[in-house]
């Protein structure tokens, strides 16, 4: 089998500790009010679960048949996990979320077939330190997880 190299392939970058820096091509985020765009490292290939939620008012009518009305538009939720992130990669994100609970999330929408930006919020974030330096400061993180949820706005 011939291995195909992606058209825009670049050699893996590394941080000052020599840890590889992930490509960040799938998702970006930006404060509601504008400002710098933060690229999110591509999550693990077995994560980036996407959920499309359709909200409805529903009830059963007098004939016991379900009748419903859709509320608003379909809303997305994306779960991301990274088995390893450099210190900068993870901390850049959590610092952004610390100041911006609501933010503009840019992602590929399979329904529209294009990248779109919507207002999202961030759920719980978890991580473990990979190791620490002499002062006890993590030098990288493992088992990092963050979920972002569509506000519907």
């Amino acid at each position: 089998m011939q291995y195909t190299i992606p058209i825009n392939y670049e050699p893996l970058k590394r941080d000052s500790f020599g840890f590889p820096i992930r490509p960040a091509t799938m998702f970006t985020m930006q404060a509601e009010s504008g400002g710098p765009i933060i690229a999110i490292p591509n999550p693990d290939t077995d994560s980036a679960d996407g959920l499309i939620a359709t909200l409805v008012n529903s009830a059963r009518n007098g004939a016991a048949i379900v009748t419903a009305q859709k509320i608003g538009r379909d809303q997305g939720k994306t779960s991301m996990s990274w088995n390893f992130l450099t210190k900068d990669e993870w901390e850049r994100m959590v610092r952004f979320w610390d100041k911006n609970f609501f933010f503009k999330f840019n992602y590929y929408d399979d329904v529209s077939g294009t990248k779109i930006s919507r207002l999202f919020y961030v759920g719980d974030r978890t991580r473990k330190p990979f190791n620490v330096d002499l002062e006890g400061i993590p030098i990288a993180y493992v088992d990092c997880v963050a979920n972002v949820v569509d506000t519907g706005a």
């Binding site: 909200l55 008012n57 048949i65 009748t67 009305q69 608003g72």
Partner: protein
């Protein structure tokens, strides 16, 4: 029924409906600000009357008149010609042609100092032109300049200035250089306030409406609009000191419109509906704010006292009585020249010899509707107070069957109708002059005082005053309004009113009896405006038809916003096959979709 398309009605009946939408706009401006407003301009030959910007209601669509500005007059028949050179364009303002050297300046002087959240100006809507820049200067009650706001690089026909002007009595608007140059400056609308606009995907959390009509006039109809807005960001200050919350006030108009995705991607909008703020709730510990609006009718609470009645005078039509009440009421108007009521001509054919009781204006209108065999309600779009005959034979507009119902209906079962008694009033003049009011006041300055008689009605009223001078006096049949000044401000003023009491007596006539019913519903109509038996047949017939239907139902259903009380619907349930009934109440709850409860009789 609200006018909506057949696509809308059809889409509402589907098993699965697409989303609903809601837009709400609050006109945040101090109530009463435009009363006593004086407007002048340095542009003394303008083709417009400045006052009309605030006096008359704008026309829809906006008319435009032909003028000779370069490239403006399009010869497509859409421009009208002024009949005379002295005609004015109302209710808009057009200046003479502009130039770079001299600004157009307009002075707005209020009757007192106001605090306003901003200014909204709608310029030329016909061709979308606007000035390059403007400035607004605010002056306090002493004439001191306290605020200047410059707006440059205007890029649309709407300008919203979000800077507050607090404690201003005069605002001067400078219009600097129109675009295109040498065209006339045009103002279609100017609001001393701002339009706060809310949508379902921004600040609206949920909403509900409740509209009712009373078919036999024993209660007032209602129309409520409740709007819950999110306040996570403390946009609304609970202390009412900052931002929009500082300027929100009762009686401001909320205009809302329902949208519905009738086909995928196709949203239609129902006509905008008016409501007026009655309550504002901004809890300090809550993340949502509740703004409640009700109708002009609900807010028509001022007690009417202005009847000049005399025994033996020509009887009045109920229309004349209703107009007298409305003209002397606190009815809310969007512009001073607005006539926000519709009185059907049928009121011209019902008469009364009665004086008008001292009651709230809305209660009196309800009595008039009852006496004339009509119904009173708030028209659903502009909220005009309407009295008209109930159209018995109108067709049903909707079907609410088991496929639209979401709960089993609740039922109220009335007793069998046993008898109807209608009261007929007569009013007689007492020959004796009696004391009808006595009051003692400590007055430090001239005061206007309303004195309600201790009897229901009186005439030939005279006053006796001790230690005071009556500066002005008006004597009505239920009350007097006197402006009094004390002679010695350190002593009390005593006022005694004397007059001939007008006595009311009522006789009840049994117009219907079902002798088979041993114990049942006995309806008594005690209406002070009924002074003859002329209408007894139709009143009795209406009550018979109404109360012969003993069941009233409440049906939880999908929610159709276009149904208005007074409509007829076909409905069926697990308890009954399809039947036609009158809607007496429609409650709608909105959270992005609709659900509701409709009551029928």
């Amino acid at each position: 029924m609200l006018q909506v398309s057949s696509n809308w009605v059809a889409a509402n009946l589907k098993q699965f409906r697409y989303p609903a939408s809601l837009h709400a706009t609050i006109k945040v401006t101090p109530p009463g600000l435009t009363e006593g407003l004086t407007v002048t301009t340095n542009d003394t030959e303008s083709v417009a009357t400045l006052d009309s910007l605030f006096q008359e209601l704008p026309e829809t669509p906006t008319l435009d008149y032909a003028t000779l500005e370069h490239n403006r007059w399009s010869l497509d028949g859409s421009f009208k010609l002024l009949k005379n050179v002295t005609d004015k364009v109302t209710p808009y303002w057009w200046s003479t042609t502009t130039n770079k050297e001299k600004n157009k300046i307009i002075h707005f002087e209020f009757d007192k100092a106001y605090s306003i959240p901003g200014v909204f100006i709608l310029w030329d809507t016909k061709l979308g032109t606007y000035p390059k820049a403007i400035s607004l200067e605010g002056y306090d009650i002493s004439g001191k300049l306290i605020q200047t706001v410059n707006v440059t690089n205007i890029a649309s026909q709407e300008t919203t200035v979000n800077s507050a002007f607090d404690g201003v009595k005069t605002i001067i608007l400078n219009i600097i250089e129109w675009q295109p140059l040498r065209w006339r400056a045009r103002i279609n609308e100017i609001v001393f306030g701002v339009y706060e606009r809310y949508q379902e995907n921004t600040r609206i959390l949920r909403a509900s409406t409740l509209s009712t009509v009373e078919l036999n006039g024993d209660k007032l109809p209602v129309h409520y609009f409740n709007l819950w807005l999110k306040n996570f960001d403390k946009y609304f200050d609970p202390k009412l000191e900052l931002g929009t919350a500082k300027y929100l006030a009762k009686q401001q108009r909320i205009q809302y419109e329902w949208g519905f995705e009738v086909l995928p991607g196709v949203i239609e909008w129902a006509p905008k509906q008016n409501s007026y703020i009655s309550e504002i709730t901004i809890p300090p510990d809550s993340q949502e704010v509740l703004i409640t609006g009700d109708s002009r009718l609900s807010q028509l609470t001022k007690t009417f006292i202005y009847d000049n009645y005399s025994i033996g005078a020509t009887k009045r039509s109920l229309r004349q009585v209703a107009e007298l009440i409305l003209q002397n009421s606190n009815i809310l108007k969007d512009r001073p020249t607005e006539v926000p009521w519709k009185l059907d001509d049928f009121l011209n054919f019902s008469f009364t010899n009665a004086p008008i009781p001292r009651m709230a204006a809305n209660t009196l209108l309800n009595l008039i509707a009852q006496a004339s065999n009509g119904i009173l309600y708030s028209e659903p779009i502009k909220g005009y107070i309407t009295i008209e005959p109930f159209e018995k034979n109108k067709p049903a507009t909707h079907t609410v069957n088991i496929y639209q119902e979401t709960t089993d209906p609740s039922m109220e079962l009335l007793n069998e109708l046993k008898a109807i008694y209608l009261g007929v009033n007569s009013y007689s003049l007492s020959s004796e002059i009696t004391e009808i009011f006595k009051g003692i006041y400590d007055l430090k300055s001239a005061q206007e005082i309303q004195m309600d008689y201790q009897v229901n009605y009186a005439t030939n009223v005279v006053s006796e005053i001790t230690n005071g001078v009556i500066l002005e006096a008006e004597y009505f049949s239920t009350s007097a309004v006197l402006k009094i000044q004390a002679i010695d401000i350190n002593s009390a003023v005593q006022v005694i009113l004397k007059g001939n009491e007008i006595k009311r007596s009522i006789s009840y006539i049994k117009t219907f009896e079902d002798t088979i019913v041993t114990s049942g519903l006995e309806i008594t109509v005690n209406n002070p405006f009924i002074t003859s038996t002329d209408n007894f047949d139709v009143l009795t017939q209406t009550l018979l038809e109404r109360f012969s239907i003993r069941q009233k139902f409440g049906i939880g259903y999908k929610g159709f916003v276009e149904i208005t009380p007074g409509d007829k619907i076909n409905w069926e349930s697990v308890y009954n096959s399809e039947t036609t009934a009158i809607v007496t109440s429609n409650q709608i709850d909105y959270n992005g979709g609709w659900s509701g409860v409709v009551k029928v009789w």
